[in-house]
Symmetry: C2
Subunit: 256 residues, 2 copies
């Protein structure tokens, strides 16, 4: 990196302006894939692999080789033509772009089944995401340590988040509580939220929300099951004995 820039910097800023522009320009979809490449690369590194070609890496990551190269080009050109990429070099540059050189303190709100699972996830895979605060409303849970962290009451969310410099909030509450919890997190200065509650959160523009919605995932799969069934029925159209083909007769189905 330091070696391959050099076009006149007019500011006195010590950080690379080019990095900021680059980071801003990376497509969202590419960011998600970079995280996958990072995991694959880390695995390779652990196994002692030191070099890798775009072809190998792309196959391990389950993507097109050209796409992988384009994704990597967003963060700079760290490959060697005719050879490939140095695993360690790629790892460190992806980590830098993803902001993993800082560790991000995480708070989990809602210590039910899912909250327990998250709190015990063990510093989050690929570490750099220490869970430093847990919240719930249930008086029986307050003070109980889960995964080594004692649970605080949700009313303390602002003070605790500020004190522990929480930068990512994870919402694992029942749906009705989610928006209220979200609002409190936001007012505590949390700007990134990972939402497991099946609710569409309303947040100000400066807050980033990502949602993980199990019901939606299941329903997408269901759609594909149905599509497949339809296709199967379509291939043997009219041959299959009438009736049982995933859609109700006439396609009209009133739910019970």
């Amino acid at each position: 990196m330091a070696s391959q820039r050099g076009e006149g910097e007019t500011t006195t800023t010590p950080v690379e302006p080019a990095d900021r522009e680059r980071a801003r320009a990376i497509p969202e979809a590419a960011v998600a894939r970079l995280a996958v490449y990072l995991r694959v690369l880390s695995g390779m590194s652990d196994q002692g692999v030191t070099a890798v070609s775009s072809e190998e890496l792309s196959q391990a990551a389950g993507v097109n080789a050209a796409k992988l190269r384009k994704d990597l080009s967003y963060i700079g050109s760290y490959g060697t033509r005719g050879v490939g990429y140095d695993v360690e070099v790629l790892v460190s540059h992806i980590e830098r772009i993803l902001g993993l050189t800082r560790s991000h303190s995480v708070a989990v709100v809602g210590i039910g089944n899912l909250g327990h699972a998250l709190a015990n996830y063990g510093g989050f895979p690929g570490r750099g995401f220490p869970v430093t605060a847990l919240f719930d409303v249930d008086p029986d849970l307050i003070g109980i340590p889960v995964g080594g962290i004692p649970v605080n009451h949700i009313d303390e969310i602002t003070e605790v988040c500020l004190e522990r410099e929480v930068s990512i909030g994870v919402i694992a509450t029942p749906p009705p509580a989610a928006q209220s919890v979200c609002d409190r997190l936001v007012s505590a200065g949390v700007q990134c939220i990972l939402n497991f509650a099946p609710v569409v959160l309303q947040v100000p523009d400066n807050v980033e929300v990502r949602k993980v919605d199990l019901a939606v995932e299941m329903q997408i799969l269901s759609f594909h099951v149905a599509r497949r069934a339809d296709e199967a029925a379509g291939v043997s159209a009219g041959i299959d004995s009438a009736g049982n083909n995933g859609l109700g007769v006439d396609g009209m189905v009133i739910r019970p």
Copy 2:
């Protein structure tokens, strides 16, 4: 539906050929949003709302109104111009397209923290996804009921899945076991897999995989934290006392 078709059918198939073509044509992204609309509509229905405009619904679902109308148009035209949509009608048509008129039997593999949480999720929100089988390798878990279902040994996966007609497999195992579990599910005839393990699964073309990857989600959020920090540093470029701006000095950081 039944009332608004009628253009000459040349086959003797009782299901709508138009439905199949339509379903095939729905963009993946739209399917995911349809699931969200369905949840919002169900909520409205529960609150006694019977009619809704695209504007209202789009706001509740957090999307653009035009996009919502286009999404709904993929499944047919069930609105009334000048009025809006009937909530119940939309609900039933979205359910039909998503294949929710059949219930889809779910198997969860890997009964750790996350597996427990999933098994107890209560038939999965928005129901229609009964968990009917649980698997693990730990002998201490075999036979123990979790969420009402006794845990089977993973070696029984084929028989049990076939017997209980599992159509969706959920992988919640440690990473190293995921591919092997996936292969077993596939050979047991499961064609849809929801993967929580941070691993890129290799599957045949006829199997649909969706992955939920917490580490990737966190890293995407981390990227946005870093981008924000950079922007903040950029706005006050050079004014901010040198150093602490999310990127290491010179943008070059070697991980420990």
